[in-house]
Amino acid sequence: MQVTKLIARRALLASVALLTSGIGFSSLTSAAAPAIGQPAPTFKSVDSNGQAVSLDQYRGKTVVLEWTNHECPFVKKHYGSNNMQTLQKEAASQGVVWLSIISSAPGQQGFVNAADANRLSKERGAAPAHILLDPSGELGRLYNARTTPHMFVIDPAGTLVYMGGIDDKPTAQPADLATAKNYVRSALGDLSAKRAVATPVSQPYGCSVKYTS
């Protein structure tokens, strides 16, 4: 009797909550937030060299998405220490496609034009396969990217296998890199060893993505 009461209560509560919140959630659920184990949302974009890039063209390859903003202290932590560039080069040597994405809106911190984006890459010794410019924030919102950095790993079948932080030390202090566990590196390791990704979700940390508000 206790059990049925509990179930009934749950059911009633859930339906009430759904009814009353239908309007509030519809916009969010229709955005189909990316989910682990699900096909990663596909997109078409243009890179900093004017070349068209779509996620579909990389079917068969592992893809890393990195949201970035060169003026954010958390991004600086990983570029100033060469941590991010090292990982990009490691990935490239394994045939992984690395896409750096800038979703800062015009006038906001981190917004750059194509030439500046390429110059920054060169200056910092960064090695992404492409830099995607997303000033409208469309791509960022598609992936619900919230921080810089915010990392996503997509397996060769196009399935999202990792989303979250670059590592497990959510600070802006470069000293913490020494003891940090890099989730992207271990996800790529798991993929190449044909294992399930050990940590598929973690807390993304950093500055907020500077969307148009």
């Binding site: 209560r9 909550a17 911190q109 919230r146 802006a172 399930a196 500055c207 907020s208 500077k210």
Partner: protein
């Protein structure tokens, strides 16, 4: 007069810092409190002591106070969608410790489409610094704090500061009068400890926090916001919707990116409409029972859970039912029959006996409840039935039931000199006899309570310790009630049949249910231990029989001491001692019971429940069926035989592409205990169907039929069986 010396070494060039120190020292270190401010671009921060003078043994409140540039904010322990919480690293003299930050209630900060949890304008972060009792009076206490914080408007700047307080010590402490208003205003921003225990549950892509509030309080709540202290529990940017029903207030919102945890802490900010005005009050909440509610000042009307009466009533009913269980019934029947033989007894004697019996039952349940609550408070993942998760206890229970059976069979009669708890029930009518019969009834009832009482006790355990204890007492009261009624209303006893030879026959017959219960406990033991464990337990019971036989060997001159009698008694006691020692030596087998059970004629149908694998299956969008079971759970075994082994069940599983996890709770398993707690359960069985693509889980009843399970599986997968087999 300057009683406290403060200094600061703010961030900056090391040379500059060095120069500052040199300067300060040259000036005789006479910095004033007002100078001890670290000024960065966006924050002015200082470290403040609540006392000018501290005394040994004091718990000193120390505050990091930030004045934040207008439009900018710093972060709470869970920063929300981005950001980083303020952190303090303490550098303290040996023996001095600092507790965690007492975070004030944050507020949501909207940044474009994102939401952060943080503080604007100003915030005070109080920590308690514990000074040891043996701190030498007169030696100043030097407290150094290195703080780092991230401050953001649209852009984010990581900042830091190093703060040092030098506080004189004396035999008695002295409050810093100038800072009292500041401490008071900061404490007003802190949440108060909630005296209610909310429950958090995930439902598909929703997460719901249920606050057990009275109808009266619930109707006054006009707004509520839940701030989980962990990242990933809720979608921080999603709206939170409140609903009310008889069980309290529910806050529903979109689930975060991690599976809903069983353990959580956080803050619930409520706005209550009372007497025409709005009252804001934030509560510190967690899944665990609250600590002493001493510091709760207002709104403690908000704390009485409404369903307590329901829980207690159902516990009493459950206790009454226990009298019919095969473990308890024989003992109760014999006790009742004792009336017939002692029909001449006065009513007063009877009532005293009944009360003593009740006291024995209640005391046993109180002890059992106290052990369970203590274990739980100690952070152990235990639930009802825990007493059967320990092979030593299972063995001892088997001994007790076996002895009770032997007694009913007439193998031994207990006379006054035979010690043994409560075995005198049939022959002695004294107060202590009745009391120990109560204890015995409670002890033999425990193996039966586990499967049958799991739900009622499970609900009770999610309440406060007081309610949980009341439930145990109610359960015991129910168990004692029929016998108590018999003693109080002599009319009932008079309706019992007249004594005769039939009584002896019945007594002998009643021994057999006890043997069956004994055999069942040995089987339970076989799941927890191994073949050796079963052998040891059986050996122990043979030794018990030997001890009784030795004791009862005929003596030439009864009552007269003799060497032979002494030897007899010594051997008998030795046999008893070895038997108990064998029980105490019982160990849990290394091989987890899970693999034994799961591998049991299942042909790979199910796999053992492992949280990671379960999360992975759910994350991959697979439909999942969960069966939480235990070897000692009779209900579980019946369900598995009747509903979870047939062809139709297997067909429905494979048609729907279900992953079938079987959790074995025969021995303790924290992962299973956590999942049970997610569904307000403290015991098995539990059956849950999780639809594909992260849909809302459906809990099945505790008594299953195959068609019920198949229907639930089909509706969850949306697949109708192609070739129905039933």
């Amino acid at each position: 007069m300057q009683t406290m010396k403060l200094s600061l070494l703010s961030g900056g060039h090391p040379l500059w810092r060095g120069a500052m120190i040199a300067l300060l020292m040259a000036c005789g270190w006479q910095a004033h409190a007002a100078d001890a401010v670290v000024k960065t671009d966006n924050v002015a921060a200082r470290l403040v002591s609540e006392h000018n003078v501290v005394q040994p043994g004091q718990h000193l409140a120390v505050m990091l106070h930030q004045t934040i540039r207008s439009g900018w904010h710093t972060y709470w322990i869970n920063p929300g969608d981005s950001g980083q919480p303020t952190a303090i690293t303490w550098n303290l003299p040996a023996g001095v410790t600092a507790d965690a930050i007492q975070w004030p209630t944050p507020h949501p900060v909207k940044v474009g489409p994102l939401v952060n949890y943080g503080y604007s304008d100003s915030v005070g972060l109080i920590s308690t610094v514990n000074v040891p009792e043996n701190w030498p009076v007169g030696t100043p206490l030097t407290i150094t704090a290195e703080a780092t914080w991230l401050v953001c408007e649209h852009e984010c700047i990581p900042e830091s500061g190093t703060f040092t307080l030098n506080v004189p010590t004396a035999a008695s402490s002295e409050v810093a009068g100038a800072e009292q208003a500041l401490f008071a205003s900061v404490r007003a921003e802190q949440p108060v400890a909630a005296t209610f225990v909310p429950s958090l549950s995930g439902d598909g892509d929703q997460v719901v926090l249920q606050l057990p509030l009275t109808n009266e309080v619930a109707s006054q709540v006009v707004a509520a916001q839940f701030f989980p202290a962990q990242w990933g529990v809720v979608d921080h940017a999603a709206p939170q919707v409140i609903t009310r029903d008889t069980s309290g207030v529910h806050i529903a919102t979109k689930k975060g990116e991690l599976p809903t945890p069983a353990r959580f802490t956080g803050i619930v900010a409520l706005t209550e409409q009372r007497d025409g005005q709005q009252i804001h009050q934030a509560y510190l909440v967690s899944d665990a029972t609250p600590v002493a509610p001493a510091q709760v000042t207002q709104s403690n009307t908000a704390t009485v859970p409404i369903s307590v009466l329901m829980i207690l009533l159902s516990a009493i009913a459950g206790g009454v039912l226990l009298n019919l269980m095969p473990c308890v019934f024989p003992i109760l029947a014999m006790k009742a029959l004792a009336f017939v033989t002692h029909a001449s007894q006065s009513t007063r004697h009877r009532v005293i006996g009944g009360v003593a019996y009740t006291a024995g039952v209640l005391l046993s349940f109180v002890i059992l409840g106290a052990v369970l609550l203590t274990l739980k408070a100690g952070g152990n993942a235990v639930g009802w039935g825990f007493q059967l998760q320990n092979p030593i206890l299972v063995t001892l229970l088997a001994y007790v039931l076996f002895l009770a059976g032997l007694n009913l069979s007439g193998v031994f009669e207990v006379s006054g000199r035979f010690m043994g708890m409560g075995s005198q029930w049939a022959t002695r009518s004294g107060v202590s006899g009745s009391f120990f019969t109560g204890v015995l009834a409670a002890v033999v009832a425990t193996p039966c309570t586990a499967p049958f009482m799991a739900t009622a006790v499970g609900v009770a355990l999610t309440q406060s310790p007081a309610v949980a204890m009341a439930t145990f007492i109610a359960l015991g009261l129910g168990l004692a009630l029929p016998y108590l009624a018999l003693t109080v209303f002599p009319g009932l006893a008079n309706k019992l049949p007249k004594p005769g030879v039939w009584m002896n026959t019945l007594k002998q017959a009643l021994a057999f249910p006890l043997y069956v219960s004994t055999a069942w406990l040995v089987w339970v033991l076989a799941q927890q231990s191994d073949a050796n464990g079963v052998f040891v337990a059986l050996l122990g019971m043979i030794l018990l029989a030997l001890a009784i036989w030795l004791w009862n060997l005929p003596v030439k001159e009864p009552g007269k001491p003799s060497l032979r009698r002494t030897l007899q008694v010594a051997c008998s006691l030795a046999a008893l001692g070895i038997s108990v020692a064998l029980a105490l030596s019982m160990q849990t087998s290394n091989a987890p019971a899970a693999t034994q059970i799961a591998g049991n004629k299942e042909h790979g149908l199910s796999q053992p429940f492992v949280q990671d694998r379960f999360d992975a299956a759910r994350a991959a969008g697979q439909p999942v069926f969960i069966n939480m079971t235990a070897a000692w759970c009779v209900t579980c075994k019946v369900n598995e035989r009747v509903a979870l082994s047939g062809a139709a069940f297997k067909q429905a599983l494979s048609d729907g592409g279900f992953t079938y996890f079987k959790g074995d709770w025969t021995n303790q398993n924290p992962e299973i205990t956590r999942l049970l707690a997610n569904f307000d359960r403290a015991g098995v069985p539990l059956y849950v169907v999780y639809p594909a693509q992260g849909g809302k889980p459906v809990v099945l009843p505790q008594l299953l039929t195959e068609s019920l399970v198949v229907e639930a599986l089909q509706s969850a997968s949306g697949v109708k069986s192609s070739n129905p087999t039933t």
